[in-house]
């Protein structure tokens, strides 16, 4: 079980969080023309890297904040955690 440092609450066990996928995906802006390809990439296509991955987690059983976690998908090492509005 991972030990994730919530930037708002501190170190907490993984079972307080839920996983939210790739944190680098940007939603296309509202009311803007989006090509089929770009939309499909946004909705469906995700990289599955072996190594560093910036991902979203929500502290659902805690402060309910969505946070960013930089984690190694191979070793599970967590390098850094960020608030939703922070960039790496």
């Amino acid at each position: 079980m991972l030990h994730i440092k919530c930037p708002h609450c501190g170190l907490r066990s993984q079972n307080e969080f839920s996983y939210g996928g790739d944190a680098t995906v940007k939603r296309p802006e509202l009311n803007k023309e989006v090509s089929d390809q770009d939309w499909d990439n946004f909705v469906y296509l995700r990289k599955s890297p072996r190594g560093k991955h910036l991902e979203l987690w929500q502290h659902i059983s805690g402060c309910r904040q969505w946070i960013k976690v930089e984690r190694d998908t191979l070793t599970h090492e967590i390098f850094t955690t960020l608030k939703a509005n922070e960039e790496i």
């Binding site: 079980m1 030990h3 009311n31 989006v34 946004f42 469906y44 659902i60 904040q65 969505w66």
Partner: protein
């Protein structure tokens, strides 16, 4: 039966307390402090079970967690416990155990014929033999194999025992209370660190309990006792026996199973049987010791052949002789220690040492005691079927390739020692890159991935002096970094006997003309010949060899077999062991009962149970409940001898004719506040929200980004910047997370707050043509006329002193209202509604009637919004705004989603107007086609229409829009039904929606 093999004195057992127990129906006696194994051995019982594949007689091989054979079925307090290791099970009064894997009994086992058919049962036998005909596998082969193989029998009854989980945090977790564990725990505790010291046995001390050493001026055992009692008295130390740390997971999370009651005749009141600890440790010290390595020779599985360390442990801890004519077969000095113990207790052992010349303090002591020592000697084969009665021994050449001078000598046990294997399982599980240490011919931990340190013999250090020195140091150093305190203790002086090098020899060659089975893996019956066969057949990777032969795959996970298997593979392949590598160690280190893993999350505790504030009213009024997510909801209220069908029909009919009331507390509710709340709703829902006036509700549908409907519900504008959103019961949590996701990550510029208020409000839906009359009675001062409170209107009222929110919304399709009050007032509201509704013939209705009402109205719900449908499919395309963008809108332009013959919700009526259509049935054009009959759609929900008094269903049907009036068939192969049906509009009752506006 008398205890012929118990010494008159010695051991750590309590000779004042005699204990009776039964094994295979026969009564025996032992003492308090015995294990089942030691007590049986004291009674001369060596035959304990039959082996896995060949059903060969098996006895005891070890004295603890490494035991591969002695697995028994326990009966404790009328509960069955399968696969208990007799070497770990402590004796208690009335213990009942029996052998496993034998039929009809352990002395006469029919399966033993496999032993004589042995040449037909080589590695991979099952894969090769039971392949044809293919259809035979499930019906014929597998059931027979399953009956013949396997160990204990699990109970099919519910386990009445209680198991608990516990979460704990500590600075240092120390696994094992041998010298390294005790020293490091003591040093760390002195520095104020929070320490957990776990020992899997009942006694603390590990090897100190059986070794002849002096620490300071005390014996090893006395020193261990002193340290443990000091540790126990310290508030920052938790000391646990009978506790096995079996798994090392990510981020220094370890799991330990504590056997609290297994050693007692029955579990004490208020105490669990076992407790699973989830421990998050800042640092872990692995002091798990080492396990003696077997030597491989002919028939080395015969009862009476066992590890020399086990024989010593039975002698020193339990005062039990494993034999009276022992043969000790060793490649190192450890065997001599066992021989010396025998000699000291008046038994004459013979030592066979594979080494030519060796000299050490231990060997000198053995020689001084006049022990018969034969150098360059090996055991070729054990003789005897159910028990060793002699051994063929031989001289071995210097190059260890040839044996000569074979002779048979009498003996009643053979104690083997092939040196020591560090227990590196936990270190390996943690991700440690282990390395092969040529000096000890075994793997030891090397490069750590997590915060762990392995000490003592688990790290390949076999002298006590070095172990204590490094352990005191490490315990001090690691704890100091955490506590920033240092209170260093001095390392005590040690007196121990020096030993000489072991012999790099483990597998005795076969004599000419003999094909004795030489076992590597004792539990899974993997012999040298199986490994040779696997390699001949081209298996090279050790992982493949393992899976093909099942080497190291049994419940003991190869604790005694791994290294001998690797050594053999490297010898045959002309490689060195590190080139072959070892297989991956995975948790659990030793078997953990399923009960402990499940813990308290069983039965009704497997998920939380949520009850509405009106729950007890429902109970009192004969409600039959149904699980709705984690909620308990009334399904129907039983009157007299009614069944579900009759009751729900009555309730639904009463709504259509008079008025009914339904508990809708379970609906998800989200409170939304902020100046940008309308903008958020406008982006989340498919329809327009910017112009919703205060005091009005609106129905909305929200999508996922992929265009699939996520949820629906009504949202009401309470005041300028305050909205009350409802979600379906099932999606409440997901919708909240969904909103938080967009507010926090995608549109942080929106000034809105959302919070769940599901539990804050109790809700009652009052529905039916007379609902307005009831509402007027509840709120006599309010104008609740169609003009005062129109459809989709909202007002606040005072319900006899209680603040209430009134929404004119309808799920049933009738004129209806939902009244919300604070949860604490829910029951008050409910009783008022029932009381004042009496004169209008009000009846409560449950979820079954609720479903009937919504189905015949064609209102879609969870069974249509099933995560596979878009708005069009549900007839909700009218709610899609063309003018604005919203979540998931772009996806609706995908080719498949705009196809002309896209699936759509329709109504389905059986032609005979009698036959109910099972939910899940397929709609097909021709009922007589061969399966798989092309599917046009499926029945999503079925009910008995109370309006028309015939069955009615909803379906999601391909090209549903153009199918109205068509005749199809509903097929249910599961229920063997084929029903001719007609497709009709999904709005079966009141298609114009006049009632809700009346």
């Amino acid at each position: 039966m008398s205890e012929n093999f118990r010494l008159d004195r010695g051991g750590l057992i309590n000779r004042n307390k005699k204990i009776s127990f039964t094994f295979n129906g026969k009564q025996y006696f032992g003492y308090e402090g015995d294990t089942l194994a030691s007590a049986l051995l004291a009674n001369g019982v060596h035959l304990i079970g039959r082996s896995f594949k060949y059903h060969r007689p098996r006895g005891f091989f070890g004295a603890g967690v490494d035991e591969p054979y002695a697995i028994v079925q326990m009966n404790r307090n009328n509960e069955v416990d399968p696969n208990v290791r007799a070497t770990e099970q402590e004796l208690f009064e009335g213990l009942e155990a029996k052998s496993v894997n034998c039929w009809p009994n352990v002395n006469f086992d029919i399966g033993a014929i496999n032993n004589f058919l042995g040449k037909f049962f080589p590695a991979g036998f099952y894969y090769k033999t039971f392949m044809w005909p293919k259809s035979f596998w499930y019906k014929v082969y597998e059931p027979i194999i399953r009956k013949a193989a396997g160990f204990g029998t699990a109970s099919i009854k519910h386990d009445k025992e209680r198991y608990e989980h516990k979460y704990e945090y500590c600075d240092l977790l120390i696994t094992g209370s041998g010298p390294s564990g005790l020293a490091s725990a003591y040093a760390a505790a002195q520095n104020g660190a929070k320490v957990i010291l776990a020992e899997d046995k009942s006694r603390f001390g590990g090897s100190l309990l059986t070794s002849e050493v002096t620490i300071g001026n005390q014996s090893g055992q006395e020193w261990a006792e002193k340290i443990i009692s000091e540790l126990k008295s310290m508030p920052n130390v938790v000391v646990k026996n009978r506790s096995q740390v079996f798994g090392y997971y990510d981020h220094n999370m370890l799991v330990m199973s504590e056997r609290i009651s297994d050693h007692l005749p029955k579990t004490e009141k208020y105490s669990p049987k076992q407790r699973l600890w989830y421990i998050r440790a800042k640092e872990v010290i692995i002091s798990s010791g080492s396990i003696e390595r077997p030597l491989v020779f002919g028939n080395n599985d015969t009862p009476g052949v066992m590890l020399s360390s086990a024989a010593k442990e039975y002698l020193k801890i339990y005062g039990v002789l494993v034999g009276k004519k022992p043969l000790v077969f060793t490649n190192n000095d450890s065997g001599y220690e066992t021989a010396i113990e025998f000699k000291k207790n008046g038994i004459d052992p013979i030592v066979l040492d594979t080494r030519k010349n060796s000299n050490s303090e231990i060997i000198k002591e053995a020689k001084d005691l006049n022990i018969n020592i034969k150098s360059s000697y090996v055991v070729v084969a054990a003789k005897g079927y159910k028990k060793v009665n002699s051994a063929d021994i031989a001289k071995i050449s210097d190059d260890k390739k040839n044996i000569s001078n074979i002779e048979n000598i009498k003996c009643d046990c053979i104690c083997v020692s092939g040196f020591w294997t560090p227990t590196i399982h936990l270190a390996s599980q943690s991700g440690n890159k282990t390395k092969f240490n040529k000096e000890i011919d075994a793997f030891i931990p090397s490069q750590s991935k997590q915060k762990e340190t392995t000490l003592g013999s688990a790290n390949g250090i076999f002298t006590l002096e070095e172990t204590l020195k490094t352990s005191f140091e490490k315990g001090n150093e690691l704890s100091k970094q955490i506590t920033n305190k240092e209170n260093k203790v001095s390392v005590p002086s040690v007196v121990e006997k020096k030993s000489s090098n072991h012999d790099k020899f483990w597998c005795v060659p076969l004599p000419e003309g003999k094909n004795y089975k030489r076992f590597l893996d004792f539990q899974n019956d993997v012999a040298v010949s199986d490994i040779q066969l696997a390699l001949r057949e081209g298996y090279r990777s050790i992982e493949h060899v393992k899976r093909y032969t099942t080497l190291g795959m049994a419940t003991d996970q190869g604790k005694t077999s791994n290294l001998n298997g690797l050594q053999l593979v490297s010898d045959i392949e002309n490689k060195v062991v590190p080139q072959v590598g070892h297989t991956t160690f995975r948790p659990p280190y030793s078997p953990v009962s399923i009960g402990a893993i499940v813990g308290r999350e069983i039965g009704k505790h497997s998920k939380p149970t949520r009850k509405s504030p009106m729950h007890y009213w429902h109970e009192k009024n004969n409600a039959v409940f149904v699980d709705a997510g984690v909620w308990l909801r009334p399904r129907y209220y039983k009157q007299g001898n009614e069944n579900l069908f009759e009751a729900s029909k009555r309730e639904a009919k009463n709504v259509r004719q008079n008025v009914g009331v339904c508990d809708v507390t379970t609906l998800g509710k989200i409170d939304i506040k902020g100046p940008d709340a309308a903008e958020l709703l406008n982006r989340v829902y498919t329809n327009a929200w910017l112009k919703l006036p205060v005091g009005k509700a609106r129905y909305g549908v929200m999508l996922r980004e992929d265009g699939i409907v996520m949820d629906d519900g009504t949202t009401t504008r309470i005041s300028e910047n305050h909205y009350h959103m409802t979600t379906t019961t099932a999606q409440a949590a997901n919708v909240l997370s969904h909103l938080e996701y967009y507010l926090q990550l995608v549109w942080p510029e929106l000034n809105v707050n959302v919070v769940s208020s599901t539990e804050q409000w109790a809700g009652a839906a009052i529905a039916g043509p007379k609902s307005r009359d009831v509402l007027q009675k509840l709120f006599p001062d309010l104008n609740v006329s169609n003009e005062g409170l129109p459809f989709m209107g909202y007002m606040e009222g005072n319900l006899f002193g209680v603040n209430a929110r009134i929404f004119r919304i309808s799920f049933s399709g009738e004129l209806a209202y939902e009244v919300n009050v604070e949860s604490g007032n829910g029951n008050f509201m409910w009783e008022k509604i029932i009381e004042l509704g009496k004169e209008f013939a009000i009846q409560p209705y449950g979820t079954e009637a609720l479903s009937t009402l919504r189905i015949e109205m064609g209102h879609v719900a969870g069974s249509e919004l099933d995560g596979r449908t878009i708005p069009y499919d549900n007839g909700l395309d009218g709610l899609i705004s063309k003018k604005k963008d919203f979540i998931g809108k772009r996806s609706l332009y995908k080719k498949a989603f705009i196809a002309k013959d896209r699936q759509r919700v329709v109504g389905v009526v059986p032609i005979d107007k009698k036959t109910s259509i099972p939910e899940g049935s397929y709609l097909v054009r021709d009922a007589n086609l061969k399966l798989p009959n092309p599917k046009l759609g499926h029945i999503s929900a079925s009910c008995w229409s109370v309006e028309y008094n015939n069955p009615f269903s909803l379906a999601i049907l391909k090209d549903g829009k153009n199918m109205i009036g068509k005749k199809l068939f509903a097929l249910s192969p599961l229920k063997n039904k084929s029903i001719p049906v007609e497709i009709v509009s999904s709005h079966y009752v009141d298609p114009k929606g006049e009632r809700v506006r009346s």
